[in-house]
């Protein structure tokens, strides 16, 4: 069950390259197995964060202060595209990230964020670029504020931007709701659907091979 998300004022790290995919966020060899959770934070962005000899790449933003403390990522277009691996979100979460701001995200990554209590915020690219520039102008010291109740982002210099969010997902984050439990409250409806669909589309429901 996800932790609730309400408000956050935090260090933000801009990662502005277009099309940062989930393979780059977490490489597959770090996530094969059923007990990988809890060890993923240090492998987030591994290909960018570490040099081939395993040492830190000092040019990568998350290896520099104060960005090491970042709880927000300001991202380029199409961040989180590619693979459905939810471990991409887990790895960000385990390195301390609680919100991502961008002009657009990979659809599956976007959905996976909500499942884990991470807030993905979509705003116009001009706003994203402005936030990144303000953060960089303060060498990362300027914090970004996020208020989910009010649906606002406050830039380091105090500029407020409102953002849109699906009301159902907003409520889910604010309260840390368990979606499985909520859907199971509708089990009568699911079973009623299946009963009538069995008559309508029997070939869907009788799947055992007849040979």
């Amino acid at each position: 069950m996800p932790k609730p998300f309400t408000k956050l004022t935090a260090i933000a790290a801009p990662i502005m390259r277009t099309n940062i995919d989930t393979d780059v966020i977490i490489r597959i060899d770090r996530i094969v197995g059923n007990s990988v959770r809890g060890n993923l934070g240090k492998w987030a962005f591994g290909a960018l964060r570490y040099l081939p000899d395993g040492s830190e790449n000092t040019e990568f933003i998350l290896n520099r202060e104060p960005y090491r403390q970042a709880e927000i990522l300001v991202t380029g277009p199409n961040f989180g595209c590619g693979s459905s691996r939810e471990a991409a979100v887990w790895s960000l979460q385990e390195m301390g990230i609680r919100a991502v701001i961008g002009s657009g995200f990979g659809d599956i990554f976007f959905a996976n964020c909500f499942q884990n209590g991470i807030l993905p915020i979509v705003v116009d690219k001009a706003i994203v670029d402005g936030l990144a520039a303000e953060v960089e102008n303060t060498q990362g010291a300027g914090r970004i504020g996020i208020d989910l109740q009010e649906q606002t982002i406050t830039s380091p210099s105090g500029k407020r931007h409102s953002f849109e969010i699906d009301p159902r997902r907003r409520a889910g984050l604010l309260e840390g709701l368990d979606e499985v439990a909520l859907t199971l409250q509708r089990d009568d409806e699911i079973r009623a659907f299946q009963a009538s669909d069995r008559a309508e589309r029997p070939w869907i429901h009788f799947t055992r091979k007849s040979a």
Binding site: V32, V89, D187, I204
Partner: protein, 469 residues
């Protein structure tokens, strides 16, 4: 008043709504849930730990594909890969989920076996914890990838919460030129509208080139929908679809078949249906495509040249191109053709079906893989493998110097440890050229099976049109 025309997406979507639970958001029935070794046992264990049961095991099917070795005898499956395989066996058998195990007909890449077994049907809603689930849309199914949490949700409820996407129709018009395949069409589209061009949309592929295209090509087209950013891609079912499905192991039979086909004939978008966006692609202007960078949108025709980052105004895009050229070890303005390659990988849920292997074999027949190149052929399923062997394709490939392997995902994402070594360059028929996708610092060029085979023979990226017979 006349009802306005409806899209295929709307028809299939509406048929699956259990309840509306928000603006544009519905609880949808899942008709088929496919599990694989990477996430299947985790989901089932997660459910067990929450004292929940599987809602409809008979609508859930499993097969190992991601983490198993594709070496003969599966000899080099890693310890963790073996644990995932054992876990999938134990957990599916405990709850009565059918699993297609290694060496059995039915095992294979999950997006190859769904259509092959007749599990994936027109109008069906299919989910799987894998982003390339959009592949099944080639049969007119509404199919999409989900994350681990959603996977647990589907196991527990046989339903999924989804926001209705916008609709994008892509018309591929014209006849495929010589040497041009389904893979080239979809790569060209990604180059045209970008890797986020389909984000938030369900894409319907239509037009004369799609109508003329065999089912396996349609599966390839839909497979790369996610590389456009679209979770779902679909193609209207037609006589080709019904001919493909008829008689398959889980396909409806007899009177049920007749009823099903009658229903499926209602699925295609109405002639007056309105899409949120339309794109038309002139197929006859497309030549064989190959990617040069680290996103599928970094794609050019085989006669093309690398871009020059200095000419790109947008800083994010420029940074992406600079990173890409640096990672790939390529120079701005250089031609793609003639770039030396170390590896060739023919396989993956994109291009590992019998027609793909035949296309590669046609190029390889009577020729030899260039010295210094390692070339792998990894059939998509046990059935594909057996059919290919029956045609002698395995021998043809091995005579030409290719390695013939067991079915699985293999080097597409290297989850089983089968990697392209650091710094080496591969031409792959898979779907992602991301940084590190085929292994740390591996360099991937995406292309069709014919173009990949041509690269293996030439030892460099080559124009298959000069090699085909």
């Amino acid at each position: 008043m006349e009802q306005p025309g409806r899209t295929m997406l709307a028809k299939i979507w509406d048929q699956h709504v259990i309840a509306q639970i928000g603006d544009d958001t519905d609880l949808l029935h899942v008709d088929r849930h496919l599990l694989h070794d990477l996430g299947g046992s985790r989901g089932l264990l997660d459910l067990k730990s929450r004292s929940l049961s599987v809602h409809n095991p008979e609508l859930t099917f499993a097969t190992p594909d991601h983490a198993i070795s594709t070496a003969r005898g599966r000899a080099s499956t890693s310890k963790v890969g073996q644990e995932l395989l054992t876990g999938l066996r134990t957990e599916t058998s405990a709850v009565g989920i059918e699993m297609f195990d290694i060496d059995e007909p039915g095992q294979g890449i999950v997006h190859v076996i769904g259509p092959e077994l007749g599990l994936s049907l027109p109008g069906c809603l299919i989910v799987c914890g894998d982003s390339h689930t959009c592949t099944h849309g080639g049969l007119g199914a509404l199919a999409f990838g989900i994350g681990s949490s959603e996977l647990t949700h589907v196991l527990a409820t046989q339903a999924i919460i989804q926001r209705r996407p916008k609709t994008l129709r892509v018309m591929f018009e014209g006849r495929l030129p010589f040497g041009v395949t389904a893979k080239d069409l979809i790569l060209a589209l990604i180059g045209h509208i970008g890797a986020a061009g389909g984000t938030g949309y369900a894409v319907e592929y239509a037009g004369s080139a799609i109508r003329d295209m065999p089912i396996e090509g349609r599966l390839t087209i839909c497979n790369l929908s996610i590389e456009l950013g679209a979770k779902m891609g679909l193609i209207a079912p037609d006589e080709k679809t019904y001919d493909y499905i008829r008689g398959r192991r889980y396909a409806p039979q007899g009177e049920m078949w007749e009823r099903a086909v009658k229903a499926w004939r209602q699925l295609p978008s109405d002639a007056d249906a309105v899409f949120d966006r339309e794109v038309v692609i002139d197929v006859e202007a497309i030549i064989p495509q190959v990617t040069w960078g680290i996103s599928p949108e970094h794609v050019i025709g085989i006669d093309g040249h690398m871009p020059d980052p200095q000419a790109i105004a947008d800083p994010g895009l420029r940074a992406a191109v600079e990173t890409a050229l640096d990672y790939m070890g390529l120079k701005p303005g250089a031609p793609i053709m003639g770039t030396p390659v170390d590896w060739v990988f023919i396989g993956s849920c994109t291009n590992s079906r019998l027609s793909d292997l035949r296309a590669a074999a046609e190029v390889a027949r009577g020729r030899k893989v260039a010295p210094g190149v390692r070339a792998w052929v990894v059939p998509g399923s046990e059935t594909v493998k057996r059919e290919a062997v029956a045609e002698g394709l395995d021998k043809l490939f091995t005579d030409a110097g290719f390695e013939w392997r067991e079915p699985g995902c293999s080097m597409c994402l290297a989850a089983n440890g089968e990697t392209v070594p650091p710094g080496q360059r591969s031409v792959s028929t898979s779907n992602r050229n991301f940084i590190g996708r085929q292994g740390p610092r591996a360099r991937t060029h995406l292309a069709s099976p014919a173009t990949a085979a041509a690269a293996a023979i030439a030892g460099a990226i080559a124009d298959v049109r000069t090699m085909e017979r």
